[in-house]
Symmetry: none
């Protein structure tokens, strides 16, 4: 092989991966291992246990990619067809390697069992190919170099596949040896408080100038409720240069996005807020109505959150707003439970009762019922108390259904705490 490997595709084999219950997860590990070597995963496919179709998909992948990794279909049974399909496409005959048969037989004997005859299929290797030892199972892998490309066959179970692939990608491994000097580098920017299209408007004029030229940076923008992520990726053989250039690029985008950027290291918003609270020795409590516990659940999803989360009150009914938070019933009669007055009383109530330094209240209409003309579904009032700041109460209007409104409410509450903690 002459030119280094730069692109790869993964083909996961198995009819069970085409149903409505199971996903191929091996590709996540494979993608990560290859990226480190500068080999970019350009596509992945799932194919059932069908020799013709698998051959077809493999042929397509080999047209496009330098390296094709096939996972699964190396078992001993009739529906394990990966070896045969690869032989069909590459025109390579299979023959039994007696040394492999002996190894499989030993594996069985160690467990006091005779080797079933069907397992001899697992000792079939393509002409000129290399067998890859599998310390955790009976199916060895196979590595084939063909026409300047590499084809790798690995067993499907993650605990068998992972050490085998890691060995191929480690220094001196067959994939690492054929990778180029170039590596792929990625930096992240997580934002909140801006829509996906607003983020695009702000950063497109900047990143569009990086797309071309000798060292293009590619930009991916990714939106989830209450969060927009930017991923910047470049390929380089100069580690220090790549890191410096991506860091500079990230700083440019961060300047355009201002304080909407909450993380550049992959942390979630509950982690970012939690880390600031821990660092400043501040405690946190919340009074939730429409979010019904979602905010505190997200805060306490983070391991170690007992360092700063004391707890809170879920006051879903008006009665509990009165009984557990001391909200005045006449206030609720006059302004309603979804009001700035109620949010202020709730945040003061939780603060008095818990003594927490940072307190949040959320009250709103998550839907689908309960909306009115004045307070339609999506109307949410959030109160925040942070030491050294006056009480902050704001009314928001979130789009989407119940789940979206609840998620965005919790995200907005966390973001307002983050900004006030500055």
């Amino acid at each position: 092989m002459t030119a280094p490997l730069t692109t790869a595709e993964v083909i996961a084999v198995g009819s069970e991966l085409l149903g409505s219950t199971r996903l191929d997860t091996n590709s996540l590990f494979i993608s990560d291992q290859l990226r480190r070597l500068g080999i970019e995963l350009k596509g992945k496919s799932v194919v059932g246990d069908d020799r013709v179709r698998l051959g077809d998909v493999l042929g397509d992948a080999l047209r496009r990619a330098d390296l094709v990794v096939l996972t699964g279909g190396l078992g001993p049974t009739d529906d394990d067809l990966t070896r045969e399909a690869v032989g069909d496409v590459l025109g390579l005959e299979l023959s039994e390697d007696p040394a492999i048969t002996a190894g499989i037989r030993q594996r069985f004997e160690r467990r006091g069992l005779p080797m079933p005859e069907v397992n001899r299929r697992q000792a079939m290797v393509h002409r000129g190919a290399r067998s890859l030892p599998n310390p955790h199972g009976s199916a060895p892998g196979i590595l084939i170099a063909t026409g300047g490309k590499l084809v790798v066959l690995l067993p499907g179970p993650p605990r068998e596949l992972q050490p085998m692939l890691a060995a191929l990608c480690a220094e001196g491994g067959a994939i690492a040896e054929h990778a180029g000097r170039e590596r792929l580098y990625t930096v992240l920017l997580f934002t909140t408080g801006l829509s996906e299209s607003r983020v695009e408007e702000l950063v497109q004029p900047i990143y569009s100038t990086w797309r071309d030229g000798t060292e293009p940076i590619s930009t991916t923008i990714l939106a989830t409720p209450g969060q927009v992520e930017i991923h910047l990726t470049m390929r380089s053989s100069d580690d220090a240069h790549a890191k410096e250039r991506l860091e500079r690029s990230r700083a440019q985008l961060a300047a355009a996005l201002g304080d909407c950027v909450f993380a550049t290291d992959g942390r979630s918003l509950p982690q970012v807020v939690g880390d600031v609270l821990r660092e400043r020795h501040l405690t946190f409590a919340a009074a939730e109505s429409c979010t019904g516990g979602l905010l505190l659940q997200r805060m306490t999803d983070v391991a170690g959150s007992s360092d700063y989360v004391t707890g809170g009150v879920i006051a879903y009914s008006n009665e509990l707003k009165i009984q557990l938070l001391g909200v005045d019933s006449s206030l609720l009669d006059t302004h309603g439970a979804v009001s700035e007055a109620a949010a202020a009383a709730m945040v003061d109530g939780i603060r008095e009762r818990t003594g927490a330094d940072v307190c949040v209240s959320i009250t709103g209409v998550a839907g689908p019922g309960g909306g009115s003309e004045a307070k339609p579904v999506g109307t949410v009032v959030i109160g925040v108390r942070v030491p050294g700041h006056p009480l902050s109460v704001q009314t928001h209007r979130f789009p989407g259904g119940r789940e979206m409104v609840r998620l965005q409410s919790s995200q907005m509450a966390l973001d307002r705490v983050r900004r006030m903690l500055g």
Copy 2:
């Protein structure tokens, strides 16, 4: 189109789905919807935001399948290229549909925002294609009939995609209209409180007799934390017969599983418990420690849950267990916060303070820290008060990490309420 659709492929578009962190999950839902119509998913692919490669993969899929569903890449930004790639492959020009632009503009105006100009890209439709309304987002879908095949473009976010695909697959929808007369029928049994292998042991002798013959029923057993599902599926062109046969089969399994079956209609455990509470005019409150709001969040995820959920207290710290629930500090000193005495005091505390009919308390060690030899990670004590029953407090030991322990705790608490409400 003449011949009915029998095979399909899915292409998920988005460079973020090729990295090491995100998987395409839409294909699970799509596979399920198509199966019901007797259309088999034969392959799926993931492609990055790359117009040429996407065109290439689409061309390959169209050679093999009757129906190709593309998901994602319909956003307003420059890296959303699905529309363009489909136009390339099918030789169909795109033009802006002013009615769609007006709809998108209205969507923004309802939120008090001007429509960013980039969003006009989402109004581009192929010549002769049908635009598919998207009630939950700004990107409409597109349906193209071409050479006896169907190509469907849908937005990537599941909450947008799911109702759109469901409409296409419902009676009279464009995919259903082109499916054959055979349908796939499925019935469900959801259980809790049994391990996957115990469920298998109980039902295998029954379902194994249905596997062969002219009308086989296939059985899938699926485990998630605190829940094991059984799916029974058969293919038939006789609606009444299939339903009657599956119903009879389900009843046989249900008899073997007893009161571990909590739903045969797809409802989640929070829905099942909520429906019983509503029917009996009972109110619900909880005092959560290690679950940090997860139980109440799951209960209030259900629309209309304000009919029975009053709220509760998240007492993550010992101080709040004392202050908000009236737990005796000497009790915590003597028995510890993770103890049957503490769980009993917590459930009594929340009952006194809220007056709710049904009350639950959860206190435990979710990990990763906080475990001891006597109370290792996964030790969780749950207290339940239900009218007409004595107080019930039990200690459980759950396997797995933090998230697993929290999920199983909330599931067990709900199941104990369900059984006591009987």
